[in-house]
């Protein structure tokens, strides 16, 4: 039992199929420690996004267990599930799609906090009675000017929208923040900014990350440990600094070679 205490999330033997023919995920097991960033590398169709959807309980696994803080995440339903959702938040790939175009930045950023009136993260505690101030602080935490709260998403660039999405993702101070290809739809010159921001916030707030990407360099930069996935299966997992080690799986080596000259 004591071994579980420093594991935030324990996933064992997780499987999911979309229909008879498509096995999206088969028998995946791993753990995420508190304050750790676990990177997931894989090509499209490797099952990495399915993994994210399952951890968010947007889909239901066919088999396997997901234990978050000792609670069986895979069994939760209804209001209990809704209450547990605040522990796991996400930053999606395409910030343009992740923000409702009709809502102001203020409305989008405050949506999670409005849904859990009883929750106030530590970093907002001193201003908990002023939603406006909370929203302003969230924006400044992600490096956006607070006066942008009244803007609509279309007035922001892709990188700025992703910052808003990140502000929203951290607003409940979740234990686990899933980053599903957070830089894939951004320009190269902004990708580094967003990665730096995510890394700073992790240190600042002590969150755990599940960092999903096809970009092995970004995963290497962000993560403590790396999971390599292929066609719904776990190829291997290892400490990030062992990425270039000789004993790596041939598939991992292929991925590495594709990005080195």
């Amino acid at each position: 039992m004591t071994a579980q205490t420093n594991h935030l999330l324990t996933v064992s033997n997780l499987s999911m199929r979309y229909n008879k023919h498509v096995q999206a995920l088969s028998g995946v097991s791993f753990q995420i420690g508190t304050g750790e960033c676990l990177g997931v590398v894989g090509q499209s169709g490797s099952g990495k996004s399915t993994l994210a959807r399952l951890l968010l309980r947007l889909d239901q696994p066919d088999e396997g267990e997901m234990m978050l803080l000792g609670q069986p995440l895979h069994k939760l339903k209804g209001e209990a599930l809704r209450q547990w959702r605040r522990h796991v938040q996400i930053v999606f790939q395409d910030p343009a799609a992740a923000l409702n175009p009709r809502l102001s930045i203020y409305q989008s950023v405050m949506e999670p906090l409005n849904n859990y009136p009883q929750v106030t993260p530590v970093f907002l505690r001193d201003i908990r009675h002023s939603p406006r101030e909370m929203a302003e602080r969230l924006l400044s935490m992600v490096g956006l000017p607070p006066e942008w709260l009244n803007r609509k998403p279309h007035q922001l660039s892709g990188g700025q929208k992703q910052r808003v999405a990140i502000a929203r993702g951290i607003s409940l101070q979740p234990d686990l923040l899933i980053c599903d290809e957070p830089t894939a739809s951004l320009d190269v010159s902004v990708q580094a900014q967003i990665l730096n921001l995510l890394k700073d916030l992790q240190e600042q707030l002590g969150m755990s990350y599940l960092f999903i990407s096809h970009d092995i360099a970004a995963v290497r930069f962000m993560s403590n440990r790396i999971l390599v996935m292929k066609e719904g299966q776990l190829v291997e997992q290892f400490d990030a600094d062992q990425l270039l080690a000789a004993e790596r799986h041939p598939y991992t080596q292929q991925l590495v070679q594709a990005v080195t000259a």
């Binding site: 090509q43 190269v188 010159s189 902004v190 096809h214």
Partner: protein, 366 residues
């Protein structure tokens, strides 16, 4: 003549045509032999409206591609690289128009071409491979039929001969030709679709291939094999390539020369190895620095300050984001300056020590 006979004769025909064209040269570069460049773009400007009003997407762009050379055009989205390619093919989308400069293809000004002449040139002398591989063929018509349609359109051959060439072209890109000929595009995987597009593009042995972000929509590994394919086929067919990409890594690996675009201008260009070693423009230097090294991971990544698409209206387009800018950068247009042979840059600080670009922090633009 049996089918095998047809096949070999077709192949021989193909090789003969090409060898006649290239056998004249010895080991000199095309420029030294005074062979005209395949493509020469002089002072090109493109506006969002026909009457030079509206936004300027490309400003005073110069670019030359020699026969058989692969030149990469690199820049962030909106920097004008794809628009430039569209101008070369004459397929600029409706309200955009060329507002200045000229484009010479094989020495001919493409502006003087009539519409049918231009169409006759497309697909035969200039080919395009798009990023959107799923849209490279009409979904309702079988691939074979569309390849044959293209061959007959340009070569005027009969169906049987055209079919032989189409089959060969698909074999060249390592596809099961017969099956693919009889398939619709959507029945293939993304990588296969892009292979078919490449097959079609190189089938008639064009002088110039425009590869417009050909791997952006593909997986890393699939993209890698596609680039290898383009690379090997361009050597085989001696076709020049204009390779448009936002991925510096790909470009450094494959291109002979690199032109870096920012805000519609080529801010720096030169032979790949020279540019990698001695980049002079701050934007190029930023791009090179932001490459990640898997062996040596820094605590923080070098990032380019500011927002992409922040382009100053006059002076240097990069001035708004440049940490080493001086007063002149905001107001004075920067001429193209020669750094070394074949290496040019547009920066007021070229002669001076720019120093360290620093750990650039986010600057707010509002």
């Amino acid at each position: 003549m049996g089918f095998d006979g047809m096949l070999t004769s077709g192949k021989m025909g193909m090789n003969k045509r090409k060898s006649e064209r290239t056998s004249t040269g010895t080991k000199t570069t095309p420029a030294e032999r005074n062979i005209p460049p395949v493509l020469q773009i002089d002072d090109l400007s493109i506006h969002t409206r026909a009457d030079s009003s509206g936004k300027r997407l490309v400003r005073n762009l110069n670019l030359t591609i020699q026969p058989g050379e692969m030149v990469a055009l690199i820049g962030e989205s909106g920097s004008g690289k794809s628009v430039t390619a569209s101008a070369v093919t004459g397929l600029l989308p409706a309200p955009l128009s060329m507002s200045g400069g000229r484009i010479l293809f094989q020495g001919r000004d493409t502006a003087t071409l009539t519409s049918p002449e231009r169409r006759a040139m497309l697909g035969k002398e200039i080919s395009v491979v798009f990023q959107d591989y799923a849209g490279s063929f009409t979904p309702f018509i079988k691939i074979g039929k569309q390849l044959i349609e293209m061959i007959r359109r340009h070569m005027g051959w009969n169906k049987t001969t055209a079919r032989v060439l189409a089959t060969q072209a698909l074999e060249q890109v390592e596809l099961a030709a017969e099956r693919v000929m009889d398939s619709y595009l959507f029945q293939l995987s993304g990588g296969q679709q892009q292979r078919v597009a490449i097959a079609a593009a190189l089938m008639l042995e064009p002088d110039l291939l425009i590869a417009d972000e050909p791997t952006t929509a593909l997986d890393t590994l699939t993209g890698e094999t596609i680039l290898q394919l383009i690379d090997s086929l361009r050597h085989k067919t001696k076709c020049a390539v204009l390779f448009i990409s936002h991925d510096l890594h790909h470009v450094i690996k494959r291109a002979d020369r690199i032109a870096v675009m920012y805000g519609g201008e080529i801010v720096e260009s030169g032979p790949t190895d020279v540019l990698v070693r001695e980049a002079r423009h701050p934007y190029t230097r930023f791009l090179l620095q932001s490459r990640m090294d898997l062996a040596d991971v820094p605590a923080r990544l070098q990032s380019i300050p500011g927002e992409p698409g922040a382009v100053s209206a006059c002076g240097c387009p990069f001035a708004l984001r440049c940490p080493v800018r001086i007063a002149r950068c905001d107001s004075e247009a920067v001429p193209e300056m020669m750094v070394s042979d074949g290496h040019t840059a547009r920066c007021h600080l070229i002669g001076e020590a720019q120093g360290d670009l620093g750990a650039a922090e986010i600057t707010r633009t509002s």
